[in-house]
Assembly symmetry: D2
Homo-oligomer: 313 residues x 4
């Protein structure tokens, strides 16, 4: 994680102050509020604001006048019920805001989640830093042989060295030229007084997709769970999954009852199709069913057997 | 406004507690937090939670690490700039949640604003109270003669008396029959032990559109302003406008700089079409232009003259 | 279903014309285009426009230049894959528009689906007809004894007669008074020349929630499926489920491959929580597991046993 | 514009076929349907499907049973009225789908418009072509001296030559290395049989932001107008504005009445703040008002004077 001293001072100053409020407050989240959690080589996620807690979900489900919560066991029962039956609107009543620093190619996946509010650092307006993502060698994987959209084995040492050298050299070179085209120094004077600098909105196009950008990203708990169900999943690209995992941990601190319900009913669960359900029923009834009789395609059959902990044979 | 004693106790208990938080906090809003503001005869609006303040808008626009605000005059200048140039995303970074009690026909207009989170009291699940809206005689207006979608003069005394009697009698009668069909008393025992009660999800259909419902409604500041620009407007139906006005006042307490920018640039401003702009330019240049030459339709001409403070002739 | 002669003529005139287009076209849907499908006593659903077909989903998934489809078996395989792995965006590339006539209490549930476009007939602007929903006696059910949000047994004959009489009389009475307050005849002259009519936006509040309204409702296929997964479900209230069923049938004509994938992977399938999945694995492995050891609550256990076709004991 | 022969054949084949439909059809749009309109050096926009026409807007506003249109002059009057009074929902009833090829940095701005459906060509799954944007020398502008987010004068010849050389060389080099890291040839065999190729989802990060991507993008007319009002505006970056201009022209063919209303009431119009309106009224009344008395900031004053065609002095 790369944070300048000035940025660190701003964060520490914000963390040093507290104010009284009548709003629901979550001490476990307050503890890490504003604190950047490192992700990848230069990135981070930090929670910068939140609205509501487990009780806010309960309160909205009951449309109640006071805090709305009763005994923890009753609240837990209600939250489990809401999650199980996909009564999603009460989970929209809690809101969280993150400040995220992330590579541009990760940002491009992330932004596809539309039900969120975003303010991104503008490279039309400002100058990006020389910060780019280089994968750790243990994540430098070959194209998967079985899945067109995934990774296979880790590259060998020599191959990894070559790839990292290409990525690093190219990143530095495109940034050198970005700076040259801009012709600006941090204090605003030109680097070369005889030249005009290229407009920032144009110069940025020379940067590659592993450069870091940053944004404020705000969403409600229901849509955060939807994001996490896709991005904390094993099929997600590693580089976005690590952000999702950090955010899942923030969620555990913030709304522990909702978090547990999400992990049980969504993240750790599976969907059975009508045909897969019929298969499970038949197997439970002691019948022998093969792939052909099941109506599942060979691929679905393998996936189903794996999910159910059986051998595909 | 109608609030039961139990509800009042719940509200007072919530208001009595405060907690320390690192989050931005707005004392002027905390002062009225949870407090119902009366609207119409039985309704209310009350702010039950919020996230962010004027500074949150500034902070998001700057993607800053600390609180993000500088001098008030700089923050005001930035907020005015954002509002003027319709840079709307920073205003999405502040969020507010209301608990609202409102007639169903008002709820039906309100719900058309889709970018919000809603949990409504369920008449499938619970029983509605005998609370219905009766207009104050001074708002009992005749159909407008010039605008198919609006009100004209107030009804005369005898006419008003007749209308109010019809509304009141019918409301009471449909509620009597609702209760009869439900066949339930508040403690759950049947009113008439010899009968089954009709399912709540069916019985509710006998209630009329002036009955009160209630919901939790949460939205971000940008979408709240959009709501207010349409519903605090003179063209809005009176019964929803009074809710918008109460919420505008809450907004003034919560984010005074944003509120002022909104009032100046949106609520109190007007849009000039290309043709109306050409007309204004010509008039300012001292030319005489009539409706025909302006290219405006007669109706637009009248509206434009009224907006510009000139006589239509 | 209630359609006036003028409305029927408009529909027939629209159905009589065809035009040449380069767009993807679905003959099975064209066959019933504009045709109202009766729902409840006075309502209907009719498809009035559509964009795309099964091929549009395939084409978007492939970002292709031509029609994008290959062999039916390949298209089916891709659509099944997209549905199974919740790659939802290609399903957003097909769009459909319905004209729906429905009771107001049904409209109030329906409108909660926010990702759709809606234009509703305005009772601020126009006058509603004397059309209200009266349930068929076989759907007049008592409140469920086990589910606070559902129906139980059908009411007995005498009880049903009483309920229907109350509903019908009240509906007619509130409409009589609506007309009296409006003081308008269809041709615009006052009913009683000595009175002003109450503004339409006020008079409508006397109508009850079983009166019919109508709207144009447009959504994409992904969001339509989401709507259908909730509203064609057995837990949905009967009065909205019948609309969903009619729309599901339209979907079968329109996009048969997508429809079949939806029915198999969503509508007919179930979600297993992490705990329920562990239970299924254990049962398949021949272990004996009871409710306590499973970690499921008694209610979940019953639901799971029912879904898996086993006795709960 | 760069289109392969196979892509051109697919387009021509799609254009060659027509089908009969009962749906509203727009011959002027059918004429160019599927046809790519060149934008920038390698990009294009092409309309690939549409739903509705001017009449669909009218029909939805009237919730009508037939085609819904009357005389052109009546339809035009209604559409103007809807646009003027921001009755936006009827414009949501027409839908259009584009296939767009565009540089990644343009895609990053574009995607901020969230109310649209998108399927992008996946560089996790497929390999991007060697196609990158190089600005025409007449658009190679220096950073603006007065606006931190804009362009100033065009670069001189020698400066432009240097910038273009940097952009071109870097783009080619990062693509060479992308290919080397992938170690794949178009037919799938490895370039170097002794090496594994890096996973596509990783290799892509070496490409720069001027590389072309492509997507299907679908939205409704209201949201298209919102997009165009921001992106066909003089403040938009040139490279996205040219896409907006091409789409505005498509809109003119598709829905001419709506297009004209949009150009008059939105694109060519201005918003006057409350203070600016007071100023205009005062000026029209013959008063002399200076910047100080107006309450406008110096910058707003200059902008207002420019918009009203007066000298700022």
């Amino acid at each position: 994680m790369t944070i300048s001293q000035a940025e660190r001072r701003d964060i520490d100053a914000a963390r040093a102050e507290t104010f009284p409020t009548r709003r629901p407050t979550v001490p476990a989240l307050e503890e890490i509020l504003f604190q950047p959690l490192p992700v990848l080589d230069h990135g981070f996620v930090r929670a910068v604001d939140y609205m509501g807690d487990d009780g806010a979900v309960v309160q909205a489900a009951r449309v109640s006048y006071g805090r709305g919560t009763r005994k923890v066991s009753e609240d837990k029962g209600l939250i489990d019920y809401l999650m199980r039956h996909r009564h999603t609107t009460p989970f929209e009543m809690a809101e969280i805001k993150f400040h995220v620093k992330l590579p541009i190619f990760v940002a491009r996946q992330w932004i596809r989640h539309r039900t969120a509010n975003v303010n991104e650092y503008s490279a039309r307006y400002s100058i990006l830093d020389r910060e780019f993502y280089l994968p750790d060698p243990k994540h430098l994987a070959a194209q998967s042989a079985v899945n067109r959209q995934g990774r296979g084995e880790v590259l060998s040492g020599a191959e990894a060295v070559r790839v990292l050298k290409l990525l690093k050299d190219d990143s530095n070179r495109v940034y050198d030229h970005y700076e040259e085209m801009l012709n600006e120094t941090p204090d605003g004077t030109p680097r070369d007084a005889k030249r005009r600098g290229l407009a920032r909105e144009l110069a940025r196009m020379n940067l590659s997709l592993n450069f870091y950008t940053q944004w404020y990203w705000k969403t409600d708990l229901h849509n955060l769970f939807h994001f996490l169900s896709l991005r904390a999943d094993a099929h997600a690209q590693y580089e976005i999954r690590v952000y999702a995992e950090a955010m899942l941990e923030v969620t555990r601190r913030w709304v522990p009852l909702c978090h547990d319900a999400f992990v049980n009913y969504r993240l750790g669960g599976i969907a059975l199709s009508a045909k897969a359900l019929a298969l499970v029923k038949a197997l439970l009834a002691g019948k022998r069913v093969g792939q052909k009789e099941s109506g599942l395609s060979p691929r679905e059959w393998r996936e189903a057997m794996a999910a159910l902990g059986r051998e595909a044979g």
